[in-house]
Symmetry: C2
């Protein structure tokens, strides 16, 4: 655990926190921490800092908390992704938070299997748990926002223009594509298709909204690897 994530209702007063349940078990069983030990903490959607363990037993721990450091810079990239199969979705939700992506739009596409929309991984509380895992890994506190769009054409025509809002927008597509642009600290939008790619019709609709096709090279990557690669290739954060 690289960061102990705190919620506002954990606080007894602005500097003291009481923990029980899963996080307490982790501190006891995995970290093996004892009174006076220091832990790296962060408040969900708030600052990071340190905590000193005042007391700990098998039912609760109390901590003295100092929150004084901003979380890592967000990735200036909005991701629009054709809903992947559930197993891959789970890893992608974790990665979204781990990479600092703060806006994730999961969309339908011709090659997305209808059953994927029924996965329990899309339940808000399950998504949140995956996002928390990614935040803890990356020592981040800022929850990504997840948006679901079950119809492709209305999404592209009615929502995408508002999302793009003057930013550069790209779709990874092997045909008639421009070379990969350089990483930028400017806000950008990346659209990533399903396994098998978008149909020509879908690419046309995206292009009508000003989305530019870019090539990832000769190799075809699995969707989660495409996402990881594109976050590096398109976006730079001020502090790396």
């Amino acid at each position: 655990m690289n960061l102990l994530l705190l919620r506002s209702d954990d606080f007894l007063d602005p500097q003291h926190v009481r923990l029980c349940g899963q996080r307490l078990d982790h501190i006891n069983e995995i970290l093996g921490s004892q009174a006076n030990d220091a832990l790296r903490v962060g408040l969900i959607n708030g600052l990071c800092g340190t905590a000193r363990l005042l007391s700990i037993n098998s039912t609760e721990a109390t901590l003295h908390v100092t929150l004084d450091t901003p979380p890592p810079a967000p990735l200036p990239l909005t991701v629009v992704l054709a809903l992947p199969r559930p197993k891959m979705l789970r890893r992608i939700l974790k990665n979204t938070a781990e990479f600092g992506i703060k806006q994730l739009h999961l969309i339908n596409s011709y090659k997305v299997e209808k059953s994927y929309w029924q996965t329990p991984a899309l339940k808000p509380e399950t998504c949140k748990a995956y996002f928390e895992e990614g935040l803890i890994q990356a020592k981040d506190t800022v929850m990504p926002e997840l948006h679901l769009h079950k119809r492709f054409k209305p999404f592209v025509e009615d929502h995408l223009p508002t999302i793009i809002d003057g930013q550069q927008a790209f779709v990874a597509h092997p045909y008639n594509a421009e070379p990969m642009p350089s990483p930028s600290t400017e806000k950008r939008v990346i659209v990533i298709g399903p396994e098998g790619g978008f149909t020509d019709y879908e690419i046309d609709l995206l292009q009508q909204q000003g989305v530019k096709t870019i090539s990832m090279g000769q190799r075809i990557y699995r969707v989660e690897n495409a996402l990881t690669r594109l976050t590096c290739q398109l976006s730079a954060t001020p502090h790396g």
Copy 2:
């Protein structure tokens, strides 16, 4: 299946191939191909091309094969990686082949659990199967080479100098690190530590061999994501 991988012993003569078993089942059940259909093929460690199905039934298929295209360019990056836990190792083996890494050295480190070296995923035939999955995904034919080094110090002192051989070599490490260099088409070596990182002693030994510490930024990435990010950030292939 983006590519049907052929082995030299599949060939009846230089232009004809007979398939049975798993690959035949895939053609029948997943692709649903019929006589006269075209398939994208590649010969392991050889050229890519196309094949026309001459005949197919439930026990065998015969194909007319034309091999005329080189596989995608390899990634000019040798990867030295502290052996990850087995579940992650399996994905990393696939990714190694998918990304075009051709030299993978798995090494020991203080924070590598001894039991990891016993995983069935390290059996040569199992590794080969994961590599094949990655090659098929990326439409590549060139098998990565896997090297196992169960002792850290002898690896760093006796093998690493030969691997580096005048190339730039980096280790991802958050402390006293230089900023990430730009991607290059030059051959490079990247060393990636275990979860929890290398010890100071290990970093010292690496630095004595000319390995430079570079920072991945404020976030801490899971090992498989660190590998994917570093392949993008350090290496460029001539055709993207």
